[in-house]
C-alpha cells in the first residue's frame, strides 16, 4: 500500500528532527531514506510506524489517515536496528508472536511460521534462542517476525548497520530479491549511499530534518538538485564553489599544452585500489584534485609520482 506523509514536523526539545517533510511512497515500492545521522530519517520511519507522534502533519497508509492511530493497529512490519529480539523466546515463538497476539489458530500459526522460516532460510533453527544466533541470522529472524502478520508496509531501520561487511552484501542482495517476491511496500533507513543505491528503486535524501531530493539512484547521481545531494551521493572534488566527479576528470598522455582544452597537472600520488586507481593531482594554480581511472588507463599512461601530464576537466557544477 502507498504511504504518504504530509508536512511532518517533529521537535525533541529544542532540536528539530523533522521540518515540514512530505514524502510519498508508491504501492509496492522499495524506497530508501538516506541521510547522515541526525538528518531525521529514523524519526520519519518511526513516525510512519506510530512509534513517535507528530507535532504537526499527517500520515496516510493505503489512503487511510493513520496520524493518531496506535502502532499496533497500523499494520506495519518494523525491523529494528538492533533487531529487538524477544530474548526469552525461541526463534519460532519470536516469529509466531504477531500471530498469537491475534489469537490465530495454532495450526495456521505453525504453517505460517514454517513458511516464513523457509523464506528467510532459518528452517533448522526454530528451537534456538536469539542468543544462539549470529547477527545475520538475527536479522533474518527479525524480518520473518515482522512479515508474519502480513503487514501492509515493511519498515526497516538501518537493517544492515550492525553486520559485518560480507554479511551485509549478501543480505542486501537477498532483501532486494525478497521484495521482488512479496512486493510489500518497503522503506528502509540507511546512512550508506552505496547501500541505498544498490537496494532501493527510489531514494529520499534527507538532511537536517528536510528532504533534499527524491529520485531513482541514477537521477540523484546524474542530476543532483544541490551541493548536499551531489556530495552525499558519490565522490566529489571541490574547486571553490564548483564540484566535479573524480571519474569525469580525463587524464591524457603527454603534457598539458598538447591539448587546447586541458590543463597541466602534476601527479602527487598514485593509489592502486584494485580495478580502480586513484590519482592525486596538483593543478597549475596549486589546487589539489583527485581523479578516478581504471587499471588499464593507469597502466597505459604509466602513471607514477612526479609525472607531469594533461588533465581534461569537465564543466564543473555550481549550485546556487
Amino acid at each position: 500500500m502507498a504511504i504518504e506523509v504530509h508536512n511532518a514536523t517533529k521537535h525533541f526539545g529544542s532540536f528539530t528532527a523533522l521540518d515540514d517533510v512530505s514524502v510519498t511512497v508508491q504501492d509496492g515500492a522499495l524506497m530508501a531514506l538516506l541521510g547522515p545521522s541526525g538528518s531525521g530519517k529514523s524519526t520519519l520511519l518511526r513516525i510512519i510506524a506510530g512509534l513517535e507522534t507528530l507535532d504537526t502533519g499527517r500520515v496516510e497508509i493505503g489512503g487511510e489517515d493513520q496520524t493518531d492511530a496506535p502502532t499496533r493497529t497500523r499494520g506495519v512490519g518494523f525491523v529494528f536496528q538492533h533487531y529487538a529480539p524477544f530474548k526469552h523466546m525461541t526463534v519460532y515463538d519470536n516469529v509466531a508472536f504477531g500471530l498469537t497476539v491475534r489469537k490465530t489458530p495454532k495450526q495456521d500459526v505453525r504453517e505460517r511460521v514454517h513458511e516464513l522460516l523457509g523464506l528467510v532460510r532459518l528452517d533448522g533453527l526454530a528451537k534456538r534462542y536469539p542468543s544462539q544466533l549470529s547477527g545475520g541470522q538475527l536479522q533474518r529472524m527479525a524480518l520473518a517476525r515482522a512479515l508474519a502478520p502480513q503487514p501492509k508496509v515493511l519498515l526497516l531501520d538501518e537493517p544492515f548497520g550492525a553486520l559485518d561487511v560480507q554479511v551485509r552484501g549478501e543480505l542486501r542482495e537477498w532483501l532486494r530479491r525478497l521484495h521482488e517476491e512479496i512486493h510489500v511496500t518497503t522503506i528502509f533507513v540507511t546512512h550508506d549511499q552505496e547501500e541505498a543505491m544498490d537496494v532501493a528503486g527510489q531514494i529520499v535524501v534527507m538532511n537536517a530534518g528536510k528532504v533534499e531530493q527524491t529520485g531513482s539512484p541514477r537521477e540523484l547521481y546524474e542530476h543532483p538538485n544541490n551541493e548536499f545531494v551531489m556530495s552525499f551521493i558519490g565522490p566529489v572534488n571541490r574547486l571553490g564553489d564548483a564540484l566535479l566527479r573524480p571519474h569525469d576528470i580525463q587524464i591524457l598522455s603527454g603534457a598539458g599544452d598538447h591539448y587546447a582544452d586541458a590543463v597541466e597537472a602534476l601527479v602527487r600520488r598514485v593509489v592502486h585500489l584494485g580495478f580502480e586507481v586513484r590519482v592525486e593531482l596538483t593543478l597549475p594554480d596549486g589546487r589539489d584534485v583527485w581523479a578516478q581511472v581504471t587499471r588499464e588507463t593507469a597502466h597505459e599512461l604509466e602513471l607514477h609520482e612526479g609525472q607531469i601530464l594533461a588533465a581534461r576537466l569537465p564543466a564543473p557544477r555550481v549550485f546556487a
Partner: protein
Amino acid sequence: MSSESVAIGRPGAPAAQRVEPPHAHAGTRESASGAVARRWGLRTLALGYLLLLLGAPVGMIFYRTFEHGLAPVWEAVTQPNAVHAFWLSVELVAIVVPLNTVFGISIALLIERGRFRGRALLGLLLDLPFAISPVVVGLALVLVYGRTGWFGDWLTSHGIQVIFSIPGMVLATAFVSLPFVARETIPVLHELGTDAEQAAATLGASAWQTFRRVTLPAIRWGVVYGVVLTTARALGEFGAVSIVSGRLEGQTQTLPLYVQDRFENFDTTGAYAAAVVLALLAFATLLGMNLLARRTQRDTVV
C-alpha cells in the same frame, strides 16, 4: 537520597566473578614472605571481625537454643501464642507482599517508561521509607489512622479499627517494605530498553499483551528478587508494627513481637526458639537471594 548512592553487589556475585591468583597484583618490590604475612594479617583481621560480630553470636543462639535437646524447643514453638504469632506474621506477609509487588512493578514502569513531570519526585518519594525510622513510621500512621488521628473520628463512626488491629499492621509493614520490588525492577527495566516493547507493538500486541509476554518475562528475576527482600523485611518488621499493633498477646502479636515479649518475661527458651525460627527463615532468604543472583547473572551472560 539513597537512590544515587547505591551500587552494591549482589550476594554471591563478586566471588564468582574474578578469581585472582595470589601474588598476581601490582608490581611491588617487597619480598614474597612480606606479602604473604600481609595477606594473612588482613585476612585474619577481616574474618576475625566477622566472626566476633556475626558468626559467633549467630552460632551461639543456635547452640543455646538446642543445648537441652529438641524437646523444650518444640514445646516452646508450639505454644498457642507462638503459633498464633507465627501465623499472624505469615498472614501479614501474604497480604503485604502481593500488594507491594503489584505496586512496585507498576511504579517501576511508571518511572522508567512514563513521560510526565514529577518522575524525579516520585523516585525520591519511593526512597523515603529507607530514611525513616520504623518507630517514626508507626507514629506517623497512628497520627492519621489512630483514634485521635486525622481520620480517627470518621473511622470510629464507621466502625473501622485500623490501629491496634490487622489493617494498621498491614499499613506499617507495607510502608517499610514498599521500595524493594520497585528498586530491584527499575534497573532491570532500564537495561532492558524499549526496543522489544516497541517491536511487540508493531506486531499488533496490546499494552497488556506486551507487558505480559515481553516485559514481565524479561524482568522476572529482578521482580522475584525484590519479592524475596520484601518478604524478609515484612516478616521481620518490628518497630513500626510494635507501635501500631498494641502488642496484644494472642491477637496482634507477630513473631518478632513475640520474641521480645518472651525475652522481657525472662522466658529465654521461648525467645530463643522463636528467634531461631526467624533466623532459619532469614537463612532461607539468603539462600534464595544467592540462587537468584546466580540465575540473573547467567541470564545476562547468555
